[in-house]
């Protein structure tokens, strides 16, 4: 079954009939070809598919695209460009906050919320707030350092 749904992705209006079984993750990767958002576990455990929905980090693998009527979605492609990186993107490069890079877009989309969280003001608190994003390369200390720098300075 298909249903009509209207929402935005990175500011562009999507108004289309979609298979009701499609998750937001599969829709943005397969239909919109925005492949920066990664499919890790596909069961809400790893955080690789994190996007913003109405400004709040959310797991795109656990949302039916059909349920997004009226919402605004931002993916990693919507926050910076190669010649104009978001400060978090620049900080991840500076602090070597990844090895293979598969989890990185999810880490950054999640960190976008954490840099605005007044409770996340120590390395321990940032680790707690970022616990929904796994990194199998184990770059955690550098990820926390990158987030801490942006939190402290606003820029890199």
């Amino acid at each position: 079954m298909k249903t009509r749904v209207r929402f935005t992705v990175n500011g562009d209006t999507i108004d289309t009939a979609i298979d009701v079984r499609a998750t937001l993750l599969d829709f943005i990767r397969e239909e919109l070809r925005l492949t920066g958002t990664k499919k890790g576990c596909d069961h809400g455990q790893c955080g690789a598919c994190t996007v913003l929905v109405d400004g709040k980090r959310s797991l795109s693998c656990l949302k039916f695209a059909a349920s997004l009527e009226g919402r605004a979605v931002i993916t990693i492609e919507g926050i910076g460009k190669p010649d104009a990186l978001h400060p978090l993107q620049a900080a991840f490069i500076k602090h070597d906050a990844f090895q293979c890079g598969f989890c990185t877009s999810g880490q950054i989309m999640s960190a976008l919320e954490v840099i605005g969280d007044p409770l996340a003001n120590t390395c321990e608190a940032i680790s707690e707030k970022m616990s929904g994003n796994l990194c199998r390369c184990g770059a955690y200390p550098n990820i926390v350092a990158a987030i801490m720098e942006v939190k402290s300075n606003g820029t890199v």
């Binding site: 079984r21 998750t23 069961h43 929905v53 709040k56 059909a66 349920s67 616990s131 929904g132």
Partner: protein, 325 residues
């Protein structure tokens, strides 16, 4: 995933009509249902998306705190009135899941989330909860995380919710609506122990919708707190948890509520045992007597008996500030 019909009513009456369809399931945050549909554990013929309903309000109404069924875990956890009148509820929410899931998950959905029992979540194993009459693979299987309270020969799956434990300690009510009208149920009467019918988890009818949760504003509830013990420091279900609220006159306990999670097939509380604390000081002896009464009906396996020690430690730590037992 099995095909299904998707409807998105914008009016509550239309939702109440839609959920009367046999095989329908309500979709709120989706963090539990979408996952279970991918696993084939849930296969609704109709998904009723209720996200258009205005049910996310958190407000003080008279002498009660009201939390709409669609309020997100994140919003409830940091709300001033929640922190003031039922701190255990906010603490329980922040101790659960991850930031992403807390943003999407709702209070109504949290109360109805299904167990994390591995055998329930895989169609490769028998499970009386998923497929009534098929048997229970957990009783003779790996049951290190399973329940020690409220179990039956049919099911030992543990209830996964943190907030339900906190809500039990603060004597919350669950409000339900159907085309027949509205009713409210004390959270203590909301969950069903498995008995011979583990697929029946709550008293909610097939045509009913949770509309809100109501927490009485009392001096006791304002003292509530939540302690969760688990296998890793974050993003993990409880091995044992405890929600407590205590009112004292000097050193003497005049009112007490203690609910435990991670141990029961349902969130667990024993009001008779709580009476053992009334009129007493919170000493090692009085807390021991309370724990002995609370856990008297427990039945553990060699793999999960550690949960009883964990829970006793958590209760001592919460009530006395020390982890002796």
């Amino acid at each position: 995933m099995e095909p299904f019909e998707f409807v998105r009513p914008t009016d509550i009456q239309d939702v109440l009509v839609a959920i009367r369809r046999p095989g329908s399931r309500i979709l709120a945050g989706g963090t539990s249902l979408v996952d279970l549909m991918k696993l084939g554990v849930e296969a609704p013929s109709t998904v009723v998306d209720i996200n258009a309903l205005p049910l996310s309000m958190i407000s003080v109404e008279g002498d009660a705190l009201s939390i709409g069924a669609l309020a997100s875990n994140s919003d409830v956890a940091v709300h001033r009135a929640v922190k003031q009148h039922a701190p255990a509820v906010g603490q329980a929410l922040l101790s659960g899941a991850s930031g992403q899931i807390r943003n999407a998950a709702t209070v109504g959905g949290n109360l109805l989330q299904r167990t994390r029992c591995t055998y329930f979540r895989s169609r490769d194993w028998p499970c009386n909860k998923r497929e009534p009459g098929s048997g229970c693979a957990a009783i003779e299987g790996v049951n290190v995380g399973h329940a020690v309270l409220g179990i039956s020969r049919s099911c030992i799956a543990v209830h996964p919710s943190d907030i339900a434990v906190a809500l039990l300690a603060v004597d919350a009510y669950v409000h339900l609506a159907s085309v027949a009208g509205e009713r409210r149920i004390a959270i203590g009467d909301f969950y069903c122990q498995p008995g011979d019918t583990p697929s029946v988890e709550t008293v909610i009818g097939p045509n009913e919708l949770i509309t809100k949760v109501e927490i009485p504003i009392t001096n006791l509830n304002a003292t509530s707190s939540y302690l969760k013990l688990r296998g890793r420091a974050s993003y993990e279900f409880a091995s044992a948890s405890v929600a407590t609220a205590i009112l004292r006159d000097g050193d003497i306990v005049i009112d007490a509520a203690v609910a435990v999670g991670g141990l029961g097939t349902v969130p667990w509380r024993n009001r008779t045992a709580e009476k053992l604390l009334i009129g007493k000081k919170l000493t090692q002896e009085s807390i021991l007597a309370f724990c002995d009464a609370l856990f008297a009906p427990a039945s553990a396996t060699p793999s999960n008996t550690y949960k009883l020690a964990l829970a006793r430690g958590a209760i001592h730590r919460t009530l006395r500030g020390g982890a002796e037992w």
